[in-house]
């Protein structure tokens, strides 16, 4: 869902940022396993990164905030493997497999791992020319879908400027719903701090988002 607690840009009250000196890569061994399971299951191509994000965004807000980062990943992964019928709720409860698994397209082996430390490419051939070009004034749309989107609340209905055209990429809003190939043009759109936060905002600040074409209208 779009307006859930994960969309926290501009919220107050979470306290100071607390950097941890000499932070380890993982604080507990299980964190590494969760991260690795996430990658391995992502390799099956049953969902995209957007489906993964969406499954964490629907966690109840208290759970989302109270969970640590990898707890959230774990809860999202558990939700996804059950939602996709890969694992039964009874198996989760039992803590073991109760029946054979489904056949999947591919399975990550240790030999494949070096290739998966490189991020996937979500760029796709453009179905149409880009509507906007660098320097264009645009207004972000005010959308409030009950499904996944990557247009943050703080940047909706705001006037901005296209600073770069980034190519045509898989569109998260539809990818989260299962269409893993539909692509849209992606732009870097920059806003003044005052446009986002009002006339009292610090005038020396600008903020950009990476905005897909359906998020934008001509200004």
């Amino acid at each position: 869902m779009s307006n859930t607690i994960h969309d926290m840009g501009g919220m107050h009250g979470f306290g100071p940022v607390e950097p941890e000196p000499d932070e380890p890569v993982f604080h507990e061994p299980w964190e590494g396993r969760v991260m690795a399971m996430q990658r391995a299951m992502g390799y099956t191509q049953l969902w995209t990164i957007d489906g993964g994000r969406a499954s964490m965004e629907v966690l109840p807000p208290v759970a989302y905030l109270a969970a640590s980062y990898y707890q959230r990943w774990f809860l999202g992964l558990e939700k996804r493997v059950t939602a996709h019928g890969l694992v039964g709720a009874d198996e989760i409860k039992a803590g073991k497999s109760l029946r054979p698994g489904r056949r999947l397209n591919r399975k990550l082996t240790a030999a494949d791992v070096p290739n998966t430390t490189r991020r996937g490419n979500f760029e796709r051939p453009a179905p149409a020319p880009a509507k906007f070009k660098t320097g264009d004034k645009v207004q972000t749309r005010n959308i409030n879908p009950t499904t996944h989107t990557r247009l943050p609340r703080y940047a909706r209905g705001k006037l901005g400027t296209v600073e770069a055209v980034r190519g045509c990429h898989v569109y998260p809003d539809t990818a989260a719903l299962g269409d893993h190939e539909h692509a849209e043009w992606l732009y870097t759109v920059v806003f003044t701090g005052r446009e986002l936060w009002g006339e009292e905002a610090d005038p020396s600040i600008t903020v950009s988002i990476e905005a897909f074409e359906p998020y934008l209208g001509a200004a």
């Binding site: 607390e18 299980w30 399971m37 999947l104 979500f122 980034r166 990429h169």
Partner: protein, 213 residues
Amino acid sequence: MTADDHHVHDHGSELSDMQLRVRALETILTEKGYIDPAALDAIVEACETQIGPHNGARVVARAWVDPDFKRRLLEDATKAANSLGHVSPVGAHLIALENTPELHNLVVCTLCSCYPWEVLGLPPVWYKSAPYRSRAVIDPKGVLADFGLKLPEQTKVRIWDSTAETRFLVLPMRPEGSAELSEEQLAELVTRDSMVGTGLPKSPADAKRGASR
């Protein structure tokens, strides 16, 4: 005890729960033939040893010593980074952001935790935390103050919210007094935080004293 303390308290006791639950899920996924534990081992090992900010530091140091590389980096950071043999492979759409005396770049992902992990490793906890995600876009100077960073009056701040699959690497300014250093020595000055925008590179003097982060 406040409700808040209560949750902090829970958190500790949940860790062992988590260990059990994670192990159970790994068992199930393995038994069902979906995953191979050896692949998980390899991923964890890569995260702990191979990928990390040392990769980004090499990119930055090269840009400091080689104007042509810097130009190529700002044009297409993926291609430029991949041209350095000693950096682990970088995927599509890495974008380098050049800091100048007039402009300081700061990277955040307000919606989740997007981060250029091929060049910086996995993100630190603070990058994924609610305080950073919520405040970076509305109070960036307050966030920088939490890191002990105060920019000159005339420096503007540009925040990059990583809302898509593009990824951002800040190219910090080369520190004063580093003219004599080799590319390898320069790479030692480049901190993770300086490539996110929440810090500056170490000065050669700091580096000698062994300051970190």
